[in-house]
Subunit: 100 residues, 2 copies
């Protein structure tokens, strides 16, 4: 089923968008994000995935981090917010083109 493939693939490959989206609400740590991803977006990434994605995002300056009580809290940066906006607009654009 291509739709299953799409859901599996897409929901994982847009993970960084969901993560940035959640971080607009407040600081969170990776483990917490994984829970939220399940509750809010019904995505079930593997244990490590959110760590890896956050590592990439931080490396590219879209999030910053600080340690507190043995947890690594991530915060979205200005360029992260800009990226998120672009990402959402891009996805809206896809839908628009399909629906017309």
């Amino acid at each position: 089923m291509p739709l299953e493939r799409l859901k599996k693939k897409t929901s994982k490959e847009i993970l960084w968008i969901y993560i940035l989206r959640l971080l607009t609400e407040r600081e969170m740590y990776a483990y917490e994000l994984k829970q939220k991803l399940q509750d809010r977006f019904e995505i079930f990434p593997a244990r490590v995935t959110s760590y890896v994605v956050l590592y990439r995002l931080e490396n590219e300056g879209y999030v910053s981090s600080r340690w507190q009580e043995n947890k690594k809290y991530y915060k979205i940066t200005e360029s992260g917010k800009a990226l998120l906006d672009e990402g959402i607009k891009y996805l809206e654009g896809i839908v628009d083109k399909l629906v017309i």
Copy 2:
């Protein structure tokens, strides 16, 4: 840039949705579809890609084909239409969750 990755990846991995969408308008052959994908959706798949995608779609019953004047015309089936609807709804759902 994760957005570039997203555009590259997503626009290719949803290729089948765009193709099904185009086929709701009329029968087309693969080569023709490639042109339309560029004009309408600004996607630039490799020469063979539309052939491969259509092969998969036909195999799974989402399109049917017939030969006419040395061209293989593809037509969307009922299950193809259902799949397309589901796909679009799924994408709309993603956007909705992000925008809230």
